[in-house]
């Protein structure tokens, strides 16, 4: 309920969506990142919800508005409407359930059909703490991410492993692309992108790198 507009101080606001199958841990990744909180029995998300958190990139404050969407396929028609305007996406699967990885391809298509071509996407293998139950190897997922030109990271919302890194890396990348664009245009990024304006995140080349887990310092 916090309604303190005084904290409403940021240079950029980026909309990021969380997608992926039911029960892969999207809501917990979000609560870990925005509130450092984890719940063992969070109920299924109905429709969409969102939370925000600000981070620092260079000397700028980047505010992330992260939309958490329902995972069941049937909800896609509703949730896809919320992809509109997203400049980043975390596509989450559960490293212990193969079917959630198989469905990544469909989610990716869904994302690309409904968002700007330059969206920064990261494939996220969550529940990495369940080492003895792992069903998808890091190499397989990394290979997939390389082929699909997305970032990749394995996380554990439970152990707070790489959650910060995953979000920060996506946001930093969006920031990098945006400020580079602005510089190319010869503008100061802050004034070039006043609040309320859509940000174009630049060309595909900018986001082709596949990063190693944990490579980004938070």
């Amino acid at each position: 309920m916090g309604a303190y507009r005084a904290e409403d101080d940021y240079d950029y606001l980026f909309k990021v969506v969380l997608t992926g199958d039911s029960g892969v841990g999207k809501s917990n990744l979000l609560s870990r990142f925005t509130r450092n909180d984890f719940s063992n029995d969070s109920r299924a998300t109905i429709g969409v919800e969102f939370a925000t958190r600000s981070i620092q990139c260079d000397d700028k404050i980047v505010k992330a508005q992260i939309w958490d969407t329902a995972g069941q396929e049937r909800y896609r028609a509703i949730t896809s409407a919320y992809y509109r305007g997203a400049v980043g996406a975390l596509l989450v699967y559960d490293v212990t359930r193969h079917v959630t990885f198989e469905n990544v391809e469909r989610w990716l298509k869904e994302l690309r059909d409904h968002t700007d071509a330059n969206i920064v996407i990261m494939l996220v293998g969550n529940k990495a703490d369940l080492r003895h139950l792992r069903a998808i190897s890091t190499e397989d997922a990394k290979g997939f991410a390389e082929r699909e030109n997305t970032f990749f990271m394995e996380t554990s919302a439970l152990e707070a492993l790489n959650v910060e890194n995953a979000f920060t890396e996506v946001l930093t990348e969006i920031y990098r692309v945006v400020s580079k664009k602005a510089l190319e245009a010869g503008d100061d990024p802050t004034t070039a992108l006043p609040k309320g304006q859509t940000i174009n995140v630049g060309g595909r080349d900018d986001i082709s790198a596949v990063k190693k887990p944990g490579c980004c310092s938070a």
Binding site: T45, G47, E49
Partner: protein, 554 residues
């Protein structure tokens, strides 16, 4: 004062005139900061702590509400029917009496166990007062149409036996599917086709919350000469279905294609639509998601359910194993594991019973309270079926049901307050998708457990009254004030939005409205909500009904 400050501060940040509702850099939702606020209404923490929201924020709502209330009364649209709207609603604080007590409940029956005057008095009482928790398990069977309002105790006994058998049959099919471990129900359908066909069609002719579809399917089926004595009562109730037919012509039309031909219950969407909307969901998908959701169901029912303490670990684990529920935390309390296993059993049986809907997330939110109240599985299942007869349309693949509901909320807001509606239009939020969750799980995420039950009971009583066609003489006085409506929930939701007019008008993007709606958990009072809804029903019911039927006939 706090409310005013809130509005004021919203203004300062809401001065962007951007027409892009969800573009990247709107100053929206700035209220959510990592340190101060939970993201939206969320799930996890709200489940058992809905009352723990800070007192300061809730008091601010009360202040604001009173401001809005004055504004509402003086708005032009309520002038025309001011006489009616000034009457106290059955839910106004002063007028509301104690919930239906066990003693009163028993006195409602004749010596042969029939509800007096066809259940009219019963429904009236439940509608205005709610039900004492100790008799809910009995009362709900009537409210949800498992038992006919005109049945004798002897007839109910027979129905109960029959329903138990039918549920057990579904259960056996679930277990067979589980053993085979594949998602295909095809071969199973063939094996039992004839048998099942008769059974499912019977289900839809036995007493209960029949809808227009049921009438159509009953009419199209030759085998209507069943021996069940309840059929006579159905015939008597037919006039009320004509009423509901008028309301939902789209369902009737669609249903002509599917009635009586297959083993599933009457379905609402046409085969053409189904082809277009083929998803990758099959029974095995449902099995998987049902188990996920069962294990992460809310637990605020646990304090309510008296039997929950009596569940031994052996019993809970046994049931979990029998429904194939694995992968649970070993530390999970027995009563919660038992509850989860019951959810799995009944949701899977429902997915077989109604394969067009199958399982959709949100359905477990609707079933969970029923399980907490009703300890017999087969009774809980049929209560759920009764609940879903209307609710199932919200879960349809083609979204027609949910869109219709959101459309009605939108119409109510438009009719009541064109200014607010215009603002919503400017934010591209006039489709009211921001109340999606409230419509779908019927305030389960916003209200406490007990309050949810109160709301649902009132809603069910309204719907039962409509089904039974009691809108005429005995209800005439109530009719003048506020007729029973199928859409009470939608009026309540619209009232909630209208109450927040001052806040919403300060917003400059739909995101902020979504956040507002998602953060209402713990702040709502069910009787206030119903009281607000009452005013809207009184002033707008006829108009909305007309508008809805017009738009449907186009």
């Amino acid at each position: 004062m706090k409310a005013l400050r809130r509005s004021h501060t919203s203004t300062s940040s809401g001065n962007s005139s951007s027409p892009l509702p969800s573009s990247t850099s709107l100053p929206s939702s700035s209220s959510t900061t990592s340190s101060t606020s939970p993201p939206s209404s969320n799930s996890s923490s709200s489940s058992s702590s809905s009352s723990s929201s800070s007192s300061s924020s809730s008091s601010s709502w009360i202040h604001l509400r009173s401001v809005l209330f004055v504004a509402n009364l003086s708005s032009p649209s309520s002038v025309t029917s001011s006489d009616r709207s000034r009457r106290k609603s059955p839910w106004s604080r002063r007028k509301r009496k104690w919930a239906l007590t066990p003693h009163q409940w028993r006195s409602l029956f004749t010596p042969e166990g029939k509800l007096r005057d066809g259940g009219v008095g019963f429904l009236k009482r439940v509608r205005s007062r709610g039900v004492d928790p100790s008799i809910r398990a009995e009362v709900w069977l009537f409210l949800l149409g498992v038992y006919d309002l005109n049945s004798t105790s002897e007839e109910r006994e027979a129905v109960n036996t029959q329903k138990r058998k039918e549920y057990e049959k579904l259960q056996r099919r679930c277990k067979m599917l589980l053993k085979r471990g594949n998602g295909s129900t095809d071969d199973l359908e063939e094996e039992e086709a004839d048998d099942q066909c008769v059974r499912f069609m019977d289900d839809y002719k036995t007493p209960g919350p029949m809808t227009s579809q049921d009438v159509v399917s009953a009419a199209n089926t030759d085998s209507s000469d069943t021996d069940s004595c309840e059929d006579n009562e159905d015939v008597q109730l037919l006039p009320s279905f004509v009423y509901s037919d008028e309301k939902k012509p789209e369902e009737e039309n669609n249903n002509n294609n599917s009635s009586g031909e297959n083993c599933s219950p009457p379905v609402a969407s046409s085969p053409e639509i189904q082809v277009e909307l083929t998803l990758h969901e099959d029974f095995s998908t449902w099995q998987r998601i049902i188990r996920l959701d069962a294990l992460r169901a809310d637990s605020d029912w646990a304090t309510y359910s008296s039997s929950s303490t009596a569940i031994t670990e052996t019993k809970a684990r046994g049931l979990a194993e029998s429904v194939g529920l694995k992968d649970y935390d070993d530390n999970l309390e027995s009563c919660r594991l038992y509850h989860a296993a019951r959810l799995v059993a009944i949701l899977e049986a429902y997915a077989l019973f109604d394969p067009e809907i199958g399982y959709c997330q949100g359905m477990s939110d609707l079933l969970s309270p029923i399980l907490a109240v009703i300890s017999e599985d087969h009774e809980a299942f049929w209560c759920f079926v009764g609940f879903m007869k209307k609710a199932r349309h919200n879960f349809r693949l083609d979204e027609a049901g949910i869109q219709r509901q959101l459309g009605i909320v939108s119409k109510i807001i438009k009719s009541k307050d064109s200014q607010l509606y215009k603002h919503l239009e400017n934010l591209q939020a006039e489709d009211c998708s921001f109340v999606y969750r409230m419509v779908l799980v019927m305030f389960r995420r916003e209200l406490s457990f007990e309050q949810t039950l109160c709301l649902w009971e009132v809603m069910w009583a309204d719907q039962a009254a409509i089904r039974a066609g009691v809108g005429k003489s005995p209800w005439s006085r109530i009719r003048q004030q506020a007729p029973p409506t199928d859409d009470l929930l939608l009026y309540a939701i619209a009232a909630l939005v209208l109450r927040r007019k001052l806040i919403i008008q300060k917003y400059s993007s739909m995101d902020e409205i979504v956040e507002e709606c998602n953060s209402m958990a713990g702040q709502l009072d069910v009787w206030k909500l119903l009281d607000d809804a009452h005013h809207l029903v009184v002033t707008l019911h006829d108009k909305i009904e007309t508008l809805s039927s017009q738009s449907l006939s186009i």
